[in-house]
């Protein structure tokens, strides 16, 4: 069903991220009472990733904000719930709230609720992360420097000691867990400095636990912490928009290992949360977002990459990241899109973005209909058994060796995408603002004969 018919919408990026989820969420959240859906969006849910997300939304007056932990529905006045699958960085959250307040959002912290079970990312994790990057020297993974990966690995290694949002409510638990964390950080950095390259930072003083406790206690008093029942209440109160972070092709289990992120980027987490809350999944629209060309921020395979396109495709919000590396562009890759659809279980509708950029680039933009590797023509990648990283590594090697078969699109981008992928296009975006979307509101829905799930071609 299209987003206009479904009550709840899950938004995920079908590529390597940066497709424009933020503007689509902003557009969904802005569904006002004037549309056919009288219920105002109850909340935007974040269901993966953490403070490393960067979803830019441009307001009608041209001011913009790159949302990291606040949901992209904030400008529309929609509250955000950071669910248990997210990693929360309270210090960054405070900074972001201040930035939003400066943009005129009234009391942004009133719009945030955090599940008590969400893991916290702290400066201690970031310190270990930096030490590790320094120890890797030239072989740095290009992480974001916040400590997301360290948060995840620490939680996996010490499930009972991992710091969670709910711990900030109890001073004694908070202190105990922070002290354990600090000890772990000190030992890890020591080990890295001993084993690593010269210049690995062992001399950097570690954050002071008491200062962190003060900050986290203030966080607990100010930010609404919620429990398991919150989601069901929100779902009953109105439509939800689930905002994914990163992209399906960066998924921890389905992405091109090792160039992946530390979270599940498919619809799985969101569907799990909604099912727990008693929402009928038939009442959910899975909306896949893609540009009309491919992008990749940072290292990893990118068969259809074409640096000569860069001058034609301006990228105002994504520069060369200090941690991630360069922002790369290339042609639309149907092989990767089909793979993305397959590993995330298909989508119900597409959102096609950056049509304005594509129009400006004209006929320089091509489509990769297949790959050639070792004399074989490949149109589809086979998903392996779940969580088989060896298989994912083989896919990476294949993608690194592949060259794309490029052809001219020959029809409009939305037509091409919905035809090739067998999925209707629910919304097209001709610019960064909410008003640049077509249709302008949700009450428009393309007529379709078949209402069932669309199989992947």
């Amino acid at each position: 069903m299209s987003p206009a018919e479904a009550r709840h919408v899950i938004v995920a990026d079908l590529g390597f991220g940066d497709a424009g989820k933020g503007t689509i969420v902003d557009w969904l959240a802005g569904r006002a009472a004037a549309t056919a859906r009288p219920a105002r969006t109850a909340a935007v849910l974040r269901f993966n990733g953490g403070a490393q997300a960067a979803h830019t939304v441009v307001r009608a007056d041209g001011t913009s904000h790159t949302f990291a932990q606040f949901g992209a529905g904030t400008f529309a006045g929609v509250p955000t719930l950071l669910t248990r699958h997210t990693l929360v960085e309270p210090l960054a959250l405070a900074r972001e709230a201040a930035a939003l307040a400066a943009l005129g959002v009234p009391a942004p912290l009133d719009l945030i609720s955090v599940d008590r079970a969400a893991l916290l990312t702290t400066p201690l994790h970031a310190a270990v992360n930096r030490a590790r990057e320094a120890a890797r020297g030239g072989a740095a993974h290009g992480s974001c420097g916040i400590g997301i990966g360290e948060t995840m690995s620490y939680a996996l290694d010490h499930p009972d000691l991992a710091l969670r949002a709910g711990d900030t409510e109890s001073p004694s638990r908070l202190r105990r867990r922070l002290l354990a964390l600090r000890e772990w950080a000190a030992t890890t950095i020591q080990t890295l400095a001993g084993a690593g390259l010269p210049g690995a930072g062992g001399a950097v003083p570690l954050p002071d636990v008491n200062e962190l406790i003060r900050a986290y206690r203030a966080f607990a008093r100010r930010v609404r912490l919620t429990g398991a029942g919150e989601l069901a209440r929100l779902a009953a109160a109105g439509p939800l928009v689930c905002e994914g972070a990163q992209g399906v092709l960066l998924d921890e289990w389905r992405g091109f290992h090792p160039h992946t992120t530390w979270s599940t980027t498919t619809f799985a987490n969101a569907l799990e949360l909604l099912t727990e809350a008693g929402v009928d999944t038939g009442d959910v629209c899975r909306l896949g977002v893609t540009r009309t060309y491919a992008t990749r921020h940072g290292a990893g395979p990118f068969p259809s990459e074409d640096p000569s396109l860069a001058p034609l495709l301006p990228e105002p919000h994504n520069g060369t990241g200090r941690w991630q590396g360069a922002f790369r562009v290339g042609h639309l890759d149907l092989v990767l899109l089909r793979y993305a659809l397959e590993v995330c279980g298909g989508v119900d509708a597409l959102a096609v973005t950056h049509l304005d950029t594509a129009a400006a680039a004209g006929d320089r933009l091509k489509v990769a209909t297949a790959w050639r590797a070792g004399g074989t023509r490949i149109t589809r990648l086979r998903p392996g058994p779940f969580a088989d990283l060896a298989h994912q590594r083989r896919l990476t090697d294949l993608a690194l060796a592949a060259t794309p078969d490029l052809t001219a699109p020959g029809r409009s981008w939305p037509g091409l995408l919905s035809g090739e992928l067998g999925v209707p296009v629910a919304v097209t975006s001709w610019g960064p603002r909410s008003g640049d979307k077509h249709p302008p509101t949700m009450d428009f829905s393309p007529t379709r004969e078949d209402r069932g799930r669309v199989p992947v071609p």
């Binding site: 210090l91 405070a94 709230a97 954050p207 200062e211 900050a215 966080f219 100010r222 209440r233």
Partner: protein, 367 residues
């Protein structure tokens, strides 16, 4: 992020979270204090009891079996910093009830009690809410911080309002009493005064006193004895009194005896304000029979609270048997559902509630 950056970040974050922007915990309070002279202070319109017909707790498709839970706390000066601490802690109550599975569909109402003799805003009563945005109600409460200093507050006015101006489905449809918690540290006035002003002086200065007519707007023939209003209230609600220690009369025999006289065993001494939500949640959980007393007290101890003893005292009679068997009043047939606001016949013989609701009787002369 540079190496020394975290320290600034931690400091800035703490400051940002503490900043009073947008929502001082009691933001209506902060706003009104800044903007008006004391004699012009008024309750937030959403909380003003004057002229209110009923505050309703209703079942809905989402919440088929609503349970009304009201928490009223004393906001006068004698309680010092306590109201603020309560405001920090009370929002957790809703999640506690739900997450621990004590109650499936709680509907919470918050209210604030002052002193009708010398406060500008002696009573503030919110609405029954069934979602997590409780803070809004709490945030609108004006903390007058006055009080009379004569060891009495107008709790009985609040009891009158709850008894005669609330309509709750759990009781009306299912014969199941709601829960009402009063948090405070002083005594009731001996009677619910029908009106203030020109009545004979009875032992203390009544010149500034305002009664039901001025605060709530009902026209009563006569004053009501405080005992009677509590008896009436306890038909509809299980009423508990919580005395936070460390407030001005905490631990005071006279206060405890006074409340035990009104409420029997339902008097809880709370030594640790941080455990206020746990204590209330636990009381409800045990009252509902969804948790045993021992498990509940273990939960409470885990929180590091020592309120367990008084909770145990208050709840031991509750926990021993099913709720229906412990109180002869339960043996009565639940009354048939009434239309809200209809005359509640069959009650304790007290003065009838108002027949006519005047649009505005404030300042009217009573003869």
């Amino acid at each position: 992020m540079g190496s020394g950056r975290w320290s600034h970040d931690a400091y800035d974050a703490a400051a940002a979270y503490r900043a009073r922007t947008g929502r001082d915990a009691f933001d209506y309070d902060a706003g009104i204090r800044a903007s008006r002279r004391r004699q012009d202070w008024t309750a937030h319109p959403d909380l003003d009891p004057y002229g209110v017909d009923v505050r309703e707790s209703r079942d809905s498709a989402e919440h088929p079996e609503s349970l009304a839970v009201a928490v009223l706390f004393d906001v006068t000066g004698s309680m010092g910093y306590v109201p603020r601490r309560l405001q920090e802690k009370l929002p957790q109550l809703f999640d506690l009830l739900l997450d621990r599975g004590y109650v499936a569909h709680p509907q919470l109402l918050f209210g604030a009690i002052g002193d009708a003799t010398c406060d500008r805003v002696p009573l503030q009563i919110g609405q029954f809410e069934s979602d997590n945005r409780m803070d809004e109600q709490l945030g609108r409460i004006l903390l007058e911080g006055g009080g009379g200093g004569q060891k009495t507050e107008s709790y009985e006015l609040a009891a009158y309002f709850m008894a005669r101006h609330t309509s709750i489905d759990c009781w009306e449809k299912r014969g199941k009493r709601g829960y009402l918690f009063i948090i405070g540290d002083e005594l009731n006035y001996p009677r619910v005064y029908a009106r203030g002003g020109n009545a004979p002086v009875t032992g203390y200065d009544r010149s500034g006193r305002r009664g039901v007519a001025e605060v709530i707007g009902d026209r009563l023939q006569d004053d009501i004895d405080t005992r009677d209003i509590y008896a009436e209230l306890r038909e509809m609600y299980d009423v508990y009194y919580i005395l936070p220690s460390g407030t001005s009369y905490a631990g005071d025999r006279q206060v405890l005896d006074h409340w035990r006289d009104l409420l029997g065993q339902n008097v809880i001494e709370l030594d640790d304000l941080d455990a206020v939500s746990e204590t209330i949640a636990l009381t409800i959980g045990i009252g509902e029979g969804t948790i045993g007393l021992d498990d509940g007290l273990a939960d409470l101890r885990q929180q590091g609270s020592t309120a367990g003893r008084s909770v145990e005292r208050a709840l031991a009679p509750v926990a021993r048997g099913p709720r229906d068997a412990r109180d002869p009043r339960d043996a009565r047939d639940p009354r048939v559902p009434r239309a809200s606001g209809a005359d509640r016949g069959g009650r304790v013989p007290v003065a009838r509630r108002s027949v006519v609701r005047r649009g505005n009787t404030r300042g009217a002369r009573w003869v």
